[in-house]
Structure formats: C-alpha cells, structure tokens
Amino acid sequence: MSDKAEVNLSGIKQSQGVWLVKVPKYLSQQWNKATEKEKVGKLTIEKKQGKAEVCFSLDEQLTTLSSLGEKGTSLQVPRDHPFTMHTVGGQTLAVFTQNDTDEISLEGMVVQRAECRPAVSDSYMKLKKLQIEESTKPQRLSQQLEKAVTTIFKPVANHTVNVKYEKKKKLEGKMVRAERQVVLDKLFSAFERHQYYNIKDLVDITKQPVSYLKEILREIGVYNTRGAHKSTWELKPEYRHYQSAEEEEAMKTA
C-alpha cells in the first residue's frame, strides 16, 4: 500500500504545542486497562518559585496490578508520579500521525519533554523486585528426565517409512512405455507451462521409463549443460513459440 504523499499541515498551524512524556512500562500497561471513561488520572501543575512542578497521580482503580504469573497477591502500583521536565534543546521535534488510510497529518510541535517518575515507595520497590525476578528467569530451562528416552533407535528390520515406500512402488508398478505420440503430447503440454524441466520432473509427469523418455526428448528438445538453467531440458527452438509476458498481456487486452 502506498502512502498518500500529501501531508496535512493544518494541525501544526493551530496547535500551541504538545508535550512528549516518557512513561514507565508498567504505567502504560495500567493505562491500557482504563475503562471506557478513559480517565486514567490527574495531572497537578504547581508554580513554586517560578518553577512549574508537575505531578501525575494515578486513578484509584488502576492501581491494582493484575497478578503476575502465579502470585496471588496483587501489588499496588504507586500512585504519585512527579514529572521531570526537560527542554527540547538539541532537537526539533514534531508529531505526525498516520491514518488507517495512510493519510499523514502533522499534529504539532513538541514544546516540552518530560519524564514520568514514580514516587519511591515500598510498593514500588516490591513491584520492581518482581520485575527483576521475572527478567532474570532464563527463557530456556534444562529439565532432568527421570527415565532415559527409549522410544527411538531400536534396531528394526525395516523402517516404517521404507515399508510404506515399497508398498507404494509396488502398487504403481513398473513404468510402461506408452505410445510415442501420447508421450509427445504430454511433453508438449508440460513445456507449455514451463520452459525448463529437470529429467526427474519429466519422468514424474509422464510416468515413462527414463531411457525411453530421453530418446523422445533428444528428438524434440535440447539439454542445457551450462547457464542459469543448468542440466535442464527444453524444447528445440523450432518447437518453441513462447510469448513474452508483454505480448501476452497485449493479446489479452486486444
């Protein structure tokens, strides 16, 4: 899907500016669980001695963490999160959005950067401890088996796979030489579909013994010894009448 190229610049004209806030993972997880009201918390902005202090406090309902794994007790996620404000010094940040329909619009410029930090509390420490435990668990475990595996590598008179194969072969029977004309027809129809064929594939298609097939092929075809299609058979030039893709399309449209 190609994106529509034109960028909608209306947003940037209107907006006064947005904030870019870095939020810890657990908090964003809680936010995702927000109800339909969509309210996740409160943002308190205070002006103390010229500096603005921003603090975010999470909603009550969202503080309970769903149990991680098997732990029964659900932890409390800390509620208060002061924001650390930064300037947008070394970079000019703009925000753009992409639609489902791949329309791009420029929403606004970032005027303030912030980091959401949790106010350190016991519950936060416990939460972090859990997280660390989880992350240090190895992804792959070594398990000790009580008994050695004995289901394989027993000596067998004939493997099941082989047995099946032989049965199948018997059913099919030996390949019988069909009429020359019949085989030729089959070959021509095959070469209509593809240009190059391996001898094995041709045997499969025509169900003829190899020597007989080769005889016929030598009559109508040529064997490529080198090149891109190495060791493949193709029809002789006089028998070929392939059309390139373009011409085929032209034929179709015409």
């Binding site: 960028v7 870095k22 939020v23 964003s28 918390g41 970079q91 992409q98 970032v110 392939y242």
Partner: protein
Amino acid sequence: MASLGSSSSSATEYTVRVPKNTTKKYSIMAFNAGDKVNCSTWTQARMERDMSARRMYGEEEMPEGAAGSEFGKKQREEARRKKFGIVTREFKVEDQPWILKVNGKAGKRFKGQKKGGVTENASYYIFTQCPDGAFEAFPVHGWYNFTPLAKHRTLTAEEAEEEWGRRNKVVNHFSIMLQRRLREQERGEEEEDETEKAGKKKKKKGGGRGGDLRIHDLEDDLDMSSDDSDSSMGEDGEGKSKAKKEKEAKGKAKKKKRKSSENEAMEDSDDGDYEGLEVDYMSDESSSEEEPEKAKPSKGEEHPKGIDEASESEEESEEEKQNEEEAKEEDEEEDGKKTPVQMEKKKKKDSSGESDSSDDSDIEGEAASALFMVKKRTPPKRGGGRGSGGSSRTGSRPGTPSIDSAATSNTLRAAANKLEQGARKRQPQGPGTDTPAAKRLKMEPSSQSPAPSGKSTPQPQSGKSTPSSSDVQLTEEAVRRYLIRKPMTTKDLLKKFQTKRTGLSSEQTVNVLAQILKRLNPERKNVNDKMHFYLTE
C-alpha cells in the same frame, strides 16, 4: 474534565485521558536543532516511504510460467536456502525510511530513518491539551530522525577516491564538480542521440558549456541554486584555470624537488649501498689472494687499529710473516690495493682529524672498509718495514713506490671512479675534486714515507722526530711521559697526538710514533686483550 483548585498553592489539576479508539498512529519526527527547521513556514509537504530497499530484499523474479521458468524452481530455491541456513530478513514497509519533500520542487528534502529501541523499555506519550482543559495522552509508535538531503551534486565513491589521490595537486576545487557536470552533459547528449527526443536534443545543444541554460533529464538533481553556481563557476573556472596551471607546474616542480630530496635522504642514510662497492673491489682481486686476505680480515677489522698491528708486528718481530706477505704482495697485484688502502686510510684519518668530514669521506671510508680488511697489514707493515727492515727491504722499497705509483694510479682511478659513482647523486663534483686531491695527497706521503724512513732505518733517531712545531709535539719525551703515567695502547697514544694539533698527517704520526716506541722499548702487558705499553722510571 473539571479543574479543581485543590490546595493552597497555585496548583491546577487537569484530567488525563488516554483515548482508546483512535485510528491514528502517532510518530515523532525529529530534526536536528542545527538544521533550523520551522514547521510553521511550510506551505506544502509531501511524505512517502523510501522503497529503494525493496530491490535488495526481493529476489530476482523469475517469470512465472511460460517462458523462462523452471518447473519447481521456487521449491528448490527454498529447500536450498533452508539447507544452507540462509535467513533472509523480511522487507517490512513499516521500517522503511520516509522521504519528506517540503515546499515543492525548490524546497528542502529530508530523509527520516526509523530509530530503533524506542518502544522497548519505556513508552512515550504525547500529551495534548484539549479545549476543555484536559490532557489527552497518545502513545508514540515510532520515532524517525529526519536529516536534510543534499541537493547539490556529489561525487560517487570512485570519483571521490580519485580526487583524494590528487588532493595535493589540485588547488582549484571548484573545477572538480564542473568537470563532472560537463562530462555528464556530454554523456547525456550521446544517449539522447540514440533516443527519439529530438526536441530535448536541440535544447541541450543550445545550452552549451558553462551556459546559463542547462536542461537536464535528472529533474530532481539539478536545481536553480546549482544552475546559478554553475554559471558563476564557469567564470571562476576560466579565471582560475590559469592559476591552477601555474600552481600545478609549481606543484610538479616541488614534487621533483621532493623526490630528489628523498633520493638524497635515501642515499645518505643507506649504509647498505656501499656494500656493493666493497664487493666490486674484492671481486677484482680476491680470487688471486684469498689466503693472505683471509688471514688479514681475521686479525682485526678496524683501520685505526692498523697502528696496533703495526706495533705488534714490530715488537713481536713478525718479519718472517711480513716478508712472506710482502713478497706475495709484490708478486701479485696487491700493490694496487695497498696504496688505495693507504690512501683511503690516510684520507679517513685526515678527514676525521680535520673534522671536515663531509659525506664524501664517510662514503669513501666505508667504501674502503673492505680494502682495509683486505690490506690491513700493508700500511703498518710499511711503517714497520721501514723501522726494522734490512737493506733488502730498503732496496725493494724504492722499487715498490714506483711500482706502486704506477699501479696505484690505475687502481686509484678505479677506486675514485667507483666512489664518484656512489656519491655522484648528491655532489657530482665533490668526489671528483676530492679524489684527485686525495690521490695526490696519498701519493705524496707514500713517496715521502719511504724516504724519511729510509733515512731513519739505519739507526734510531736522536729522539727528535721530523714533525714541525705545534701545540703538542709528538716527541719521545711526550710519549715517555704518557707511558710512565699509565699504561696505554697505541690507539690511546695516537689519540693524544692528534693530527690537528701536531700538524702531522695521520700517516706520519703513525710512522713517527712507531719509531718512538721502538726507541723507548716500553714494557708490555695485556689488559683486556689489548696490548698496553708502559714505562717505569
């Protein structure tokens, strides 16, 4: 929603919402502050994904069915890749860079590359303030760093390497791109001859070289700004081409000088050069004189020590050996070698004594090192022979100088030639003038020495030696003083009576000192394998 003034301080509360059902995906567009991008000045912008990487990821498409295809090709390719464990990365459209074009054709262009690792450990949210005062937070899905793209033409990698190699020569850097543009134009003209674009062809020809109007097929690359610069470059280029030529000429001259200086440096520092010279000498006469030569090199290798051996040979009365060797020498062409050796030795001593030692002397000294090795004995023996030789020797001696002189001249010339060649690169004239002078110098002492020694041979002198007055007299008294004070080797003694101060040539010093020592007949002792003389009184 509601703004509650809760506490005493001027705090305001805002609700934060995280909208759920938004279809929009938010991303960050980051520009470097130095590029001074002001989005509000943009009148128009177009942004597309840069799909140029798809070619790399997409395999060569074989025609499916009909012409050119193979039966079961795809499966075979897949099986082959699995067998070798080749894992091809998928081409994800989401991860492709953006191309942003601002303000149409004449405006800027940016490329936005996705920054990885943004959403891994922490999430970014965009807080926007709604009209109702509440904040809405949207998660950020991607971060793209946008960098401005160069509009001007750049050199390709091969061209850049070429220019790098010529950076010392080329002064006029403007002409580099100008030439490239002209070349492209010519190429473009050739191509167009083949195509049917007659109209464009005319236009191009009308454009001309360095002209103001230049219509180019690559619409995006050539822009107004570069056209302006082209015309100005054209003018500048002409003006500067002269300067460039001059400078190039200068550069070449400098290069030559540099080369020559490098050569000189190499000549100076390369000791190995003279080994060749030595070999030449040895090869001339070595075949005939291997035995005595073997004996001589084995004894000692430094020419200044000739005096040591001289005195040793005297004191130890190796007349027999000397006789043998002298006979051999006279028989064969060692004579030729003797005097060159002498000459070299004297020269060396002179030069070292006078400390005018130019590079010539170094070369010549080193060149003659083999000679010295070959004929170490000869100079000392001459002195020794003088001292202790009998009439037979004296008789032979006058002969020898004449023979010597005759033979010497040939070999001296040969030696001089070779030395000249060695030192020619640096100072073509120096060796030429020096060697004849040296020759003369050597000839003189060589002819002189037998004469005075002839006089002195009959009996020991009165104690006064020939040298003229100077700061330090090489007298028996002086020598005696030294030897009484402490045991000294002949080398040490020589050092005391430097040629500079006594006014004697080194050869003379050697001879005189030898005589004095003979007269004094000091006691000998071996200290550190060296023969020291001392007197006790």
